[in-house]
Amino acid sequence: MARVEVGTLLQIAEALEAVVGRCFGPNGGQVLFTRDTGEVLITRDGWKILTSLQLDHPVARVLVDCVSAHCETTGDGAKTFVLLLAALLRGVQAGRLQGLEARRVALALHSFQTQVLDGVIRRHVAPLASSLLPWDPVCLGLLTQAYFQGKVTSAHCSFLSEMACEFYRRWRCRGDPEGAALISRHFAQLHTTVPGLPVSRSRVLEGLVIHRDFAVRCRADGPLRALAVAVPMHPPLAPTGVTLSLASHDQVQRCCSWLDGRVELGIASMRRLQVRLLISGVKQSALVLDHAQRAGVSVVECVDGDELALFCHLSGAKLFDHPGDWSLIREEYIATVMFCQPVVLGPDRFAHVGFREGRGLLPHCLALCGPVPGMADQCVSAFRGAVRMLQRVFEPVQSHHQQSGEEANENTAIYTVKRPNLHNKVGLHCTATSIGDNANLNTQFTANERLQALLRCPDKSLGPLCAGQSQPRLNTETEAEPKDQTSDRVQNGKAPGTQPGDNFGNEMCSDVLAVSGVTLGSHTHKLGSASSGVLIEAGSLLPVGGTFEFLLHHYLLQHTSQTSCPDTQAACRLVAGAMLCVPRQLYSGKRFLEAQSRFTRTLTADPTSERVQGLESLACKYQLVVSALQGLRTLLSVDVILHTSVRCQKERGREKGEEEEEEEDGDGDGDGEEEGS
């Protein structure tokens, strides 16, 4: 058993910061990994580095999990995440020395996002962002250029950025979220890794490369009709699980010739529909290939299932997967491909097909080269991240209240059922309403804990229901949350003039467990419609080089002076201070101060009016701050690590296993009482 101190967390975060810090920013270097299999991996991608490290300490693993979750959504920002988290922890540590309790900070940060951050972003930062929409190729170039500067060596970033722009231009994907989502979802099928050639030989190819060679190739020019199938045309004599009873010589003959007849029927129906290309997800027998050759049908077999699905999606045809009768093939299974030819990419030969433009999109794919496989893989993972980042850019960020409205609804439904007892609640309410100072907040905190403990026991014999509301959040956790008093007031009509949107800046100290009989459904609905909509518009971009960090720093400090709650002030100062670590890492020493003063000068004017070096996505940056705050909370809420051995765990059975799992995920309940016992 080991207690988790803030110092320990900080040590671990700083150790990771030291590794990724060297690869941070446009002048960062590379990291070379060798696997035990002898594989060589070259990367500058923070997420790749962290996941390849084989970390042992549970806290470090929890941290890496947080990074992974963040990268899944934005495809960027792993290094900044670690820097930011380390800076936040440093802030917490320093605050603790001044008597600020770490766990209270965790709590304060919890509502910080919805109470303060969203408001600051909406009111101050988002209006300053320039937009990629309507489609601006120059902006896209700057955006991808800045992205690749953090992911590959500086030699390749302008080349890859141009290629990314060309890729999107030729796809005719001009900022519509659907196209970007399609590219992002199918990126694995849309690229080919080619080792042994310099990176500059990478190129954009029209159509789709199916990563298989032709089993049968018949020359054909111009558009031709294709059929995608997932079943063999020539079924085996006795498939798995079937027993074939053969009683006579004749029967054997009949069986064989019946099967052969099926093949001929299949070929005949393909002839009838003038199919010239057969794309098969399974292996077809030699007989089928032989027949296809004679019928002039090219065959590509053993195609990966995802590729087959993408082919059908892009061509608009149905996949034929009826196991029996090939004469069922109708017109709707037939796709039209514009060309079909072999393409040699590095050591392999693949089938290459082209599509007609459909839904305004013209499919293209990528061949990404590198002199060593590790290098080619680096290009691929950088590109994959860029595609995900762009998908994110083209989607607007919804306000969290609205986004998780349903979730809140659900939570409440559970809580209303499980509400333990009324008296306790009333008592809580009494303490919580007379808030305003630190002592009271502590009381409230413990009260919350007790409430949570109580919430866990499913006591069905309940008194009158109290509508405590959980604060809607991005991630689903089992914690119950105090609800915002002000929004409640709106609800109850006690303060009818107040708009929830304006109340974002309200102190979290006003969090209470309000007792009210109002049903939650209507509440959430009202809240959702009040804070209508979009926090960050689709395509919002800010200049790189610390603009976002400086802006947030500035406005958070400004907010500090407007609020009177000491905990909010502390949280704002903590986050504002931590934001500066990013530009500090970008500009070393004196250049940081220069950059900061330059920023302050331009703040009065439009910060985007300067000639920009590159652009980055506001949505990704915002998500980064949110993720870092969530990560911090996850880390701070664990107090004890229990080391168990595998053998013991088996004997002790299931519940202990669960307990360890809880700890591993870092999803502790914020109190650590169970672990302590």
Binding site: G28, F33, T34, T153, P235, P236, A238, A286, M375
Partner: protein, 568 residues
């Protein structure tokens, strides 16, 4: 459970290139590569700790594949060289030596590694644009109408493999054979896109190199059961040939994974055999005289066919299938359930037995324009034969690449010295443009450019293994060797032979400077005599790609901040 071992934490090295141990290891690798380079390169014997085969080679691909590298940096370098060679077949050692000396020179400088990489990249761009210019002094067009350039290209490949142990005459003989085989693979008149044929290499051990030859058509292993009398029967004339890619061993096709319940009097094999015999009847009826199968043929079927005077060749192998289709015009039949269509039969112009060393082989003569031939390579022992085989396959690949880009670079070290002279001259005019673009100082740029040129020179100097002097002339920037044992007091003009590539005869009117020293920058002039033919050429696509790969890999190594090794 007791065997379950815990994953070890990874080993982390920061700033690997500042570590002396890493540099020592790189230097060892460079030493190995340098000593193998060129026609006089030293051979390496490789044998592993558990005994077994001893390998003698100086070819980068064979060498690097069989070495076990101890450090990730070495692995990275080896991997990029191997990947280059697998695409372009040549200039692997050039890439390896250039890359490691670029890294080595960058270490000695007081310039930021990132800046060094940026300048290297810029210089690479200068080289690339110079090489792509039509008036480039180290590039010559390949005239596909004459064999001169082709022979020079092949000579460049074959002579740079000293492990083949060829004399001058033998090298010439092999060169001619390789070009001859290559020309055989070009179809004479085919409409539409040209599809090159295949050369099949047959290696024969224990015969002199002079016996190497090119045969039209294909050689296949002589069937054991074939009697010479059978052959005499069909000595002349064209024969029909049937080619099967399906196994004719008598197995059920597509039996599936299910279970069979077979009545005791039903014999599945007999059913299949019945189908096979029906097929054989048809084949005999259609007048087929040669029956070839990629896989096994059932003995009963063989017996039946032989009885009807058909020559059966079984177990052909997948490698020979494609050339045989090209040579005979047959289509491989993939099923025995249906009758063979008439259009899938091929033609053979004749059959005879070839004696290749200890092996007797059946020679299938092609009918018409087949674009397929067999290169029979002979050598005294297995090691040399293997190396020769690799060299010839490389040379053939180089010739094919040349068809795409009909240009070649001067061999014998002349390209390196010429390029080096060009960069030395050019960097002085480029520095003013480069300074604002890269954000470096003039001194930084010139230092790095000097390192780049020295690295190119180092490759040129690597051709020398006997402590002789290597010179560069100050007019054309070609590479000249001073023979070992030349009187030290004699002027260089008296002792040098022709230049490395053989384009320029011995001349006394030039000024020379040793390769390792600094010389005043000059713009290298293209040679005056346009009639002369260079004797040694290097492949243009291979060398320009090698140059790029070397610089890119060096930049990558310079950019490394951390090495993390998984040791579990």
């Amino acid at each position: 459970m007791s065997r379950l071992s815990k994953k070890q934490p990874s080993v982390c090295t920061s700033d690997p290139l500042s570590d002396g141990e890493v540099c020592r290891k790189l230097a060892v690798l460079r030493q190995i590569l340098t000593s193998c380079f060129g026609p006089c390169g030293r051979l390496k014997q490789i044998h592993n700790n558990v005994g077994g085969h001893v390998l003698t080679t100086s070819t980068s691909a064979v060498l690097l594949k069989s070495l076990t590298m101890s450090h990730p940096v070495q692995k990275l370098l080896a991997a990029s060289v191997l990947n280059h060679v697998s695409r372009f077949s040549d200039c692997g050692l050039f890439a390896g030596i250039l890359c490691s000396s670029l890294v080595d020179h960058a270490r000695g400088l007081s310039v930021q590694p990132g800046m060094v990489a940026a300048v290297y990249r810029r210089l690479l761009g200068l080289c690339g644009s110079y090489l792509s210019r039509d008036n480039c002094g180290c590039k010559v067009p390949v005239d596909l109408g004459s064999s001169h350039s082709l022979l020079a290209l092949v000579r460049g490949v074959v002579t740079s493999k000293p492990a083949c142990m060829l004399t001058h005459g033998e090298a010439r003989h092999i060169g001619v054979r390789v070009v001859q085989a290559f020309l055989h693979t070009i179809p004479h008149h085919s409409p539409g896109p040209v599809c090159l044929g295949k050369t099949v290499t047959v290696a024969v051990e224990g015969r002199p190199v002079g016996d190497s030859t090119v045969l039209p058509g294909l050689l296949v292993d002589l069937p054991e059961t074939l009697r010479p009398a059978d052959l005499e029967q069909l000595a002349q004339g064209a024969f029909r040939l049937a080619l099967f890619s399906v196994s004719l061993a008598g197995d059920l096709s597509e039996p599936g994974e299910g279970t069979y319940e077979v009545d005791w009097e039903v014999c599945l094999e007999a059913t299949v055999l019945g189908q096979l015999l029906r097929l054989a009847e048809q084949v005999v009826r259609d007048g087929v005289r040669v029956f070839v199968c990629q896989r096994v043929v059932h003995p009963v079927l063989q017996q039946y066919l032989r009885k009807h005077g058909v020559i059966v060749v079984e177990r052909l192998g997948i490698a020979l299938l494609e050339p045989l289709i090209r040579a005979t015009g047959a289509q491989a039949v993939a099923t025995f359930q249906t009758p063979v269509p008439a259009q899938s039969y091929g033609q053979v112009a004749g059959l005879c037995v070839q004696h290749c060393g200890s092996r007797e082989m059946l020679h299938l003569l092609p009918a018409g324009d087949s674009a397929c031939c067999t290169l029979v390579l002979c050598h005294r022992n297995e090691t040399m034969l293997n190396e020769l085989k690799v060299a010839c396959q490389r040379a053939e690949h180089i010739l094919r690449l040349t068809l795409k880009e009909p240009w070649a670079l001067l061999g014998g070290g002349c390209t390196e010295t010429h390029l080096c002279a060009y960069i030395r001259h050019q960097c002085h005019s480029d520095v003013c443009r480069a300074m604002p673009e890269l954000g470096c100082t003039r001194a930084d740029y010139l230092q790095v450019a000097d390192g780049f040129c020295r690295s190119l020179d180092a490759v040129g100097r690597a051709l020398e293994h006997d402590d002789g002097e290597r010179l560069v002339d100050l007019t054309h920037g070609h590479h000249w060797a001073v023979p070992v044992g030349a009187p030290p007091q004699a002027s260089w003009g008296d002792v040098v032979g022709s230049c490395g590539c053989g384009l320029m005869p011995p001349r006394r009117d030039l000024e020379w400077s040793p390769l390792s020293t600094e010389y005043p920058p000059f713009s290298p002039a293209p040679p005056v005599d346009t009639e002369a033919h260079p004797l040694v050429l290097d492949s243009f696509p291979a060398k320009s790609n090698a140059l790029q790969v070397a610089v890119e890999t060096a930049n990558l190594l310079l950019d490394l901040k951390y090495i993390i090794e998984d040791v579990s």
